[in-house]
């Protein structure tokens, strides 16, 4: 390899590495891990604490999910609804001018569980005696998971972020059940549909001090022919407790400004 090329590549790599490190180490506006959380650890991780998920967690680039999930086959109802969705990416990808994603074109809430399947940026978990609170960087929204023993509502009014209850299956596995979602939201960035009869299970398994695994299962017999796993042991890394996260809010006015210029 010519020496000059090596020097050029070295300079580019050093510049990129230093800017990435700067972005991730600054005290304000941390943008999260660059890619996969499976990066070398500084030392061996300690054991998982008992019944404790508190902390700031990040899946890096693996959380983005730009192309959407790979679902089970759709029912005729699901197929018909899915055909009305013109997504930015994935199987229903359309040119920018034709995209009708309610999140990116109208500023609707991302909704649950799309917030686990698309733009799952860093999030913080806070535990109180009767709740687990999940604070998401993307959209700057939060969810309340009730741990006080209540049951899910029987005939819920649909909500953008549904209704959630959780319990510890063992000392390192917290399982969340949700229902009552609003079927105007998409399931992911590929425009996969869901009904408001959907049930969602999230399993948070704390593997050790630094690592959390998330598995999400969709059970929506109105839209899909069988239950399916939308996130399978997605690895999340614990971030330093003093991490200040960037704002990442998909505002309606910014989306309109973008579309005015790029929907050509």
């Amino acid at each position: 390899m010519p020496k000059r090329l090596i020097v050029t590549i070295a300079a580019a790599a050093a510049l990129t590495a230093s800017s990435v490190m700067r972005a991730q180490n600054q005290p304000w506006n941390n943008s999260g891990l660059a890619q996969s959380p499976n990066q070398p650890q500084s030392g061996p991780a300690g054991p998982a604490p008992r019944r404790d998920l508190t902390g700031i967690w990040d899946a890096g680039g693996a959380g983005i999910g730009a192309r959407g999930a790979t679902p089970a086959p759709l029912t005729p109802w699901g197929e018909a609804l899915g055909k009305t969705h013109k997504s930015g990416d994935g199987a229903r990808m359309a040119p920018i001018a034709e995209i009708n994603d309610p999140l990116s074109t109208m500023g609707d809430p991302e909704g649950f569980p799309r917030n686990l399947l698309f733009e799952l940026r860093p999030f913080q978990i806070v535990q109180t005696p009767n709740q687990v609170l999940i604070l998401y960087m993307f959209e700057k929204r939060w969810r309340v998971v009730w741990t006080d023993g209540r049951q899910l509502p029987k005939d819920p009014d649909p909500r953008w972020y549904g209704y959630s209850i959780g319990k510890w299956e063992d000392d390192t596995t917290f399982v969340v059940q949700s229902n009552g979602t609003d079927e105007r939201t998409w399931l992911d960035n590929a425009g996969n549909p869901h009904s408001n009869e959907m049930r969602v299970e999230e399993r948070y398994h704390r593997v050790n001090q630094n690592t959390l695994e998330l598995t999400v299962t969709i059970d929506d017999p109105k839209a899909y022919t069988k239950p399916w796993v939308a996130r399978n042991k997605l690895a999340l890394r614990l971030m330093p407790p003093d991490t200040d996260l960037m704002e990442m809010i998909p505002s309606a006015s910014e989306a309109a400004e973008y579309k005015k210029v790029f929907a050509k």
């Binding site: 390899m1 090329l5 090596i6 590549i9 070295a10 580019a12 790599a13 510049l15 990129t16 590495a17 230093s18 800017s19 990435v20 700067r22 972005a23 991730q24 506006n29 943008s31 999260g32 660059a34 890619q35 680039g61 983005i64 730009a66 192309r67 930015g88 990416d89 994935g90 990808m93 359309a94 040119p95 920018i96 001018a97 995209i99 994603d101 990116s104 733009e119 940026r121 960035n189 960037m246 990442m248 809010i249 998909p250 505002s251 910014e254 989306a255 400004e257 973008y258 210029v261 790029f262 050509k264």
Partner: protein, 143 residues
């Protein structure tokens, strides 16, 4: 032998960095992925916003007419990880932009990399498209 190993390592580092996903909210359906233009121009505006940051700049096409281009990158969160910032550009900066245009011929596209006035380059990642134009080739006039 040692130097050769070092060179291979650096190439691997660069490839890992440029292979990062570029666009989170939409794919390539609007863009002509067979074309790439390299345009010298003057920055008119730098929008640091969701869902995509975009750079607007004036550049001459191959007839000598000046057109105002708008080229997008990913969002502020992802661009921060690549060393970009709200302060990366100011109006009047002379830049060289490598871009992939939209299919319809409008002066709109997605940015692949940009050379700043101080000679450094900001990149977005992603592989070069097949049939990319030679560096310096002017963009065709608007149809």
């Amino acid at each position: 032998m040692k130097n050769r190993f070092f060179g291979v390592f650096l190439v691997a580092v660069v490839l890992l960095v440029v292979a990062a996903p570029v666009i989170a909210h939409h794919g390539a359906a609007s863009f002509d992925t067979t074309k790439e233009y390299v345009l010298k121009g003057t920055v008119t505006e730098w929008i640091w916003a969701n869902p995509h940051c975009f750079l607007k700049f004036d550049a001459k096409d191959d007839t000598g007419s000046v057109r105002n281009w708008a080229v997008e990158v990913s969002n502020p969160t992802d661009m921060s990880k690549r060393g970009w910032a709200r302060t990366s550009f100011k109006a009047g900066d002379e830049v060289t932009v490598t871009l992939q245009p939209v299919k319809g011929g409008a002066p709109v596209g997605r940015l692949r990399n940009v050379v700043l006035p101080n000679g450094s380059t900001l990149g977005t990642g992603g592989p070069a498209p097949a049939g990319a134009a030679a560096p310096g080739a002017p963009a065709p006039a608007a149809k």
